[in-house]
Subunit: 364 residues, 2 copies
């Protein structure tokens, strides 16, 4: 770790693997023998085509993406997908209906946006409980004729995640994986569509990954802008127009880094160890509490509170002085949140836990 | 110039100022004393707020943008704006009509997209002439009740540009300036809206600049996705969701570089000199011809042909071997094109011209 690097627990944009950053830095002005920066390359050049094709191939390898799924590199983040999903899928099976689980702020925003385009049913919600758990969906009434079924798989703000997936039968499952993609192996065949803003676990902000089953492409509503139709991008390998080239390049470097470090099985094991350090400490702490129902705990975003807003504030301030940055919880919920994505080394988590212990002794 | 840098005449993404690249490289892993990369910064952090606010302030200074205009940093490129402009402006004055000038491929795509949302009239076109000149619009019949009037101010593929602007009266003028923004001083008050993909004259691909008069904001069609409504972004200083942070940072570095080098008046003088080197040579060449009507010649994209496709191909190949990259014309028109945006040093243009002279002697 570079001498002056901090531990950055930001929820997104967030810490990236140091080897990825160092490689991008080294090649920043002149990429290989190209005599130019990746930021300057024509997206139609052989050099960039190699970059984007390798990025896609490596992502396919990492996630074992079946051949009948397209991988798209888009723009606009998950927020753009909140509209793009209904605009593309609400007519896939012509019912114009979709079912959603409301598990947090971003699921809620996705619901609101989808309601502008179709008949949307919230089949389960934990909103009344402050989203401190995944809604109990096992007794929810799904609609078997829905065009799709939507979940936000990991809820960044609250630190919750789906550990099992609803069995939606023939209804395609759509998942926002912005804050958990590549954190563990994923059975892509369980999903109709996976979406993820890259800025949490993959790359700088500005790239959105969409993995979509081919039969769901090509049925967009008439009102959908050409740029928002999945088939526009699928037919052009994400290059209908100029893509966010540098972000795709950085994503590719992250995929290479993951492959070189054992892939997603290894990553899961590492992420479990990291999360356990924090949760184990929290479970015995008398000062800090994790507000999340135990079986729904996120492996990526660990939330905790003292129950005293002033003390929370003091903690964040002192943590920052100790090089533990962006520990403050989301402005909508307060408290603290440590986002420990793939690129956060276990040393950072250990250092944070030690700091919490010290703080507890001094303030408990 | 770094020893192994080439001259990159790509139409976009395209060459960036070397001092900008070198500064971004130096700070890539650790920005200032932040202990993290700009690519890792929370967009809600003070550090990034300073970056985006300074970028906006510097752009306002450079272009002397009046206070009643908003500056937005968006995603999706000009192609996304082809939908976003009609989705936002077609109900500004409630007529649902807009007039367009068809001056090239991108104007044509903008027209096709707008036709999906309203009553679009092409008031002048040079399509029949292969877009080798700006359409003669002085006798065109504009509609005084149109919601807006649209032009593509510089036509990257053909090497043409508007040197005077249509007087559209009360009808807001909308201009795609992707390939000419910041190349010379602009009287922003002549426009209702200026849009520009950043990847030609500003920054890496993935940032779209929109400068829009405030009274045109807030009238989007009901079907417009929330993310595509200008008011969503205007009300949130381009941070309704995570913006393309690194691209905005790079754009800011380019704005600083322009300010430090005399601003747009100085840039115009330099760009005129650069373009003159090429056009003066072309006007006396017996091998190479510029196919564009003289008064419509672009200052940014200089197109030329030998009239012999094999010879064009040979030229491009030999130019590349001499370190003069991406000289090939757009696939739709063939021939050659030298894009000489702000960041292309005059030395590159001189070297290209010398190479053309040599090639002419050997092949003329």
């Amino acid at each position: 770790m570079s001498m002056n690097r901090v531990y950055n627990f930001s929820a997104g944009p967030s810490t990236l693997p140091l080897p990825v950053l160092e490689k991008a830095q080294k090649d920043f002005v002149c990429y290989g023998d190209a005599g130019m920066s990746v930021t300057e390359m024509s997206h139609r050049s052989k050099m960039f085509e190699d970059i984007i094709q390798k990025a896609q191939a490596d992502l396919r390898t990492l996630m074992a993406i079946p051949d009948n799924y397209k991988v798209l590199f888009l723009q606009g983040g998950a927020s753009m997908q909140f509209a793009q999903v209904p605009l593309n899928l609400l007519s896939a099976y012509k019912s114009g209906k979709a079912d959603y689980i409301n598990s947090g702020n971003f699921a809620n925003l996705a619901i609101k946006e989808a309601q502008r385009y179709g008949d949307i049913k919230v089949v389960a919600s934990s909103r009344e409980d402050g989203y401190t758990h995944i809604p109990d969906w096992d007794e929810a009434e799904f609609r078997p004729d829905a065009d799709y079924f939507y979940i936000c798989q990991n809820n960044t703000i609250y630190g919750t995640r789906f550990t099992t997936l609803p069995n939606t039968g023939k209804v395609p499952l759509v998942a926002d994986m912005s804050s958990c993609i590549l954190s563990e192996p994923t059975d892509v065949s369980r999903y109709g569509l996976i979406l993820a803003g890259a800025q949490k676990n993959v790359a700088p902000a500005g790239v959105t990954i969409v993995i979509v089953r081919e039969d769901l492409i090509g049925h967009a509503l008439d009102i959908a802008p050409t740029m928002l139709k999945y088939d526009t991008m699928a037919a052009n390998d994400s290059m209908y127009n100029t893509p966010p080239c540098f972000g795709i390049y950085m994503a590719g470097l992250t995929f290479e880094w993951l492959l070189a470090n054992g892939g997603l099985a290894q990553m899961k094991e590492y992420n479990q160890r990291k999360a356990a350090v924090l949760y184990d400490y929290l479970d015995q702490s008398r000062l800090f509490k994790n507000p999340v129902r135990k079986q729904d705990r996120s492996m990526m975003n660990v939330t905790f509170v003292t129950g005293n807003a002033d003390l929370d504030k003091k903690f964040c301030k002192e943590a920052e002085a100790a090089g533990l940055m962006n520990i403050k919880g989301h402005r909508s919920v307060g408290g603290m949140r440590a986002s420990i994505y793939n690129a956060m080394p276990i040393e950072g988590v250990v250092k944070l836990t030690e700091f919490m212990e010290k703080f507890e002794k001094e303030n408990g």
